[in-house]
């Protein structure tokens, strides 16, 4: 093999670097996150942040890590899953004896859940989004004892949709991901219509 001079060596090196870079970009475009660049399964369009209630562990970081105050993550209610319980474990603190709306009996630290009598023994629970801080305390109680109809979701009319979401970066369970703007909520059950 002929010995290369300095000029040839630099030229060959640049060619290989360019070739390798192009291959990496092409590979990333084709295989990124299982979304192919071509074909009928291709998804396109703008995306937004959302959290998957099935992965959420109610760690409280949605309340403390969001750049918005209060957080853009709110408790949402999938009414179709709700048992309309008198003793709602998402509304009342554990060990509560008398079931009334006294502030000291409420689990929510900001009293963002409203309890309304429907008929004996059923009550409806609605979320006051302006008050909700997205701490997930009610979500934990509802999921542990009840049906899990209270679920945290990023509310898109409040979210700044940061490129590097501070909550997603700190989420210990990997519940945050980017979803298509055309289908921006990941509520379990049949609750999407309730938003």
């Amino acid at each position: 093999m002929d010995k290369q001079n300095r000029r040839q060596f630099i030229r060959t090196g640049i060619r290989w670097i360019l070739f390798g870079g192009m291959a990496l970009v092409a590979g990333d475009l084709i295989f990124r996150k299982g979304e192919p660049l071509f074909g009928k399964n291709r998804k396109s369009g703008p995306t937004v942040w959302q959290l998957d209630p099935a992965k959420c562990i109610q760690c409280g970081r949605c309340a403390t890590n969001c750049v918005k105050t209060p957080s853009a993550v709110k408790c949402t209610h999938a009414y179709s899953m709700c048992g309309y319980c008198n003793l709602c474990s998402g509304y009342f603190k554990p060990e509560t004896k008398t079931l009334d709306t006294g502030a000291e009996k409420q689990l929510c630290p900001v009293s963002a859940i409203k309890r309304t009598f429907v008929e004996d023994p059923f009550y409806e629970y609605t979320i006051d989004e302006a008050l909700c801080i997205g701490c997930g305390k009610c979500v934990k109680g509802c999921g542990a004892f009840g049906n899990g109809s209270l679920q945290l979701q990023v509310r898109h009319h409040l979210c700044d949709n940061c490129n590097d979401c501070s909550i997603a970066r700190n989420c210990p369970s990997g519940a945050f991901s980017r979803v298509q703007l055309t289908d921006p909520y990941l509520l379990k059950g049949f609750g999407k219509k309730n938003l």
Binding site: G83, C85, L87, C88, P94, L107, K140, F145
Partner: protein, 322 residues
């Protein structure tokens, strides 16, 4: 000399700065890990009550996704789940396994040994040898059958979807609807917020139903009159912890009740009149979040607990020290 001192000081300052950066990058500070909005499940799952039962080696069925267990006094254990039924002897050795089509949600034995299997929306009768006897028509389009119980001639089917208990004869003919709200007969109706709705027959032939939205067990006559009830909502050991409890129960040969709960997973024994007697297994015995702890009375005072999280039949015997 002065220059040298400044240089050493600068190097030390630089090293301290690098150490601080490394700590900030790689160390996890506990104050940031702590959840200021913690619900406190860890504290709720701790109990001071000492279990009065000892756990033996669990039985590990071949079936995946087990949902229901039943036992009889000669020691045989019947397990149902997705796609099959398994019969074990007292030591856990498999005696029989036969496939079924679909998802069995509950199982009971008739006094003559016939297996009554609740599927999601209908009931099937099988012989212990694995031959199908009859398949009943679907109860209702919105039905969710969660429990079955049987006497010599009657079969009771708990339907969480319709919030009612159906009484059938052994040929599948509907005899009565039990638990429908009826102010005239002072029947408040079943409140079933989630698909946990158990039914059982006592040794005296009495019908008991878990009204989980009211956190109590209710006794009904065979014609559907509400006779009595017991139970209250409480996180304390004597009560049932919150919504949809007791999720399951069974009745021992002496008329005592064994109950299981979700949320705070615990299995307890109550006297025939509903007084708390003993803790069989506390929350620490189960994985957090385990639901659907089906129960059965085994031979020699054994209590069988179906653990869907571990896909095992857990076996508890009375502790001789107690």
């Amino acid at each position: 000399m002065k220059k040298k001192t400044i240089l050493i000081f600068a190097i030390m300052l630089f090293l301290v700065f690098v150490a601080w950066m490394l700590r900030d990058l790689f160390m996890v500070r506990p104050e940031l890990q702590k959840n200021p909005y913690d619900y406190g499940m860890t504290a709720l799952r701790k109990t001071d009550t000492v279990p009065s039962y000892t756990e033996l080696s669990p039985l590990k069925p071949v079936l995946r996704e087990i949902t229901s267990v039943a036992g009889n006094q000669d020691g045989k254990i019947y397990i149902a789940g997705k796609g099959g039924v398994e019969i074990l002897d007292v030591s856990g050795r498999m005696l029989k396994h036969f496939p079924i089509r679909g998802y069995a949600t509950c199982l009971t034995l008739m006094p003559d040994g016939t297996l009554v299997i609740g599927m999601e929306d209908h009931v099937e009768l099988w012989s212990p040898s694995g031959n199908i006897i009859s398949v009943w028509q679907a109860v209702d389009t919105n039905s969710m059958i969660t429990s079955v119980a049987a006497t010599q001639n009657l079969i009771f089917v708990a339907d969480a979807g319709k919030k009612i208990v159906y009484q059938y004869d052994r040929y599948g003919k509907l005899q009565a609807r039990i638990g429908e709200k009826d102010p005239v007969r002072k029947i408040p109706g079943f409140i079933i917020p989630s698909p946990y709705f158990d039914v059982g027959i006592s040794p005296k032939g009495e019908l008991w139903v878990a009204n989980t939205g009211r956190y109590r067990l209710e006794k009904y006559s065979m014609d559907g009159s509400l006779l009595t009830s017991w139970g209250e909502a409480s996180m304390a050991m004597e009560g049932f912890a919150g919504c949809c409890n007791p999720s399951n129960f069974t009745i021992l040969p002496d008329g005592s009740f064994v109950t299981s709960e979700k949320g705070i997973e615990r299995v307890k024994v109550y006297s025939p009149d509903g007084a708390f007697v003993a803790l069989v297994a506390g929350p620490e015995a189960f994985d957090e979040g385990t639901r659907g702890l089906d129960l059965a009375a085994g031979s020699n005072g054994r209590i069988l607990v179906l653990d869907p999280s571990r896909n095992q039949i857990r076996v508890f015997v009375p502790d001789k020290r107690n």
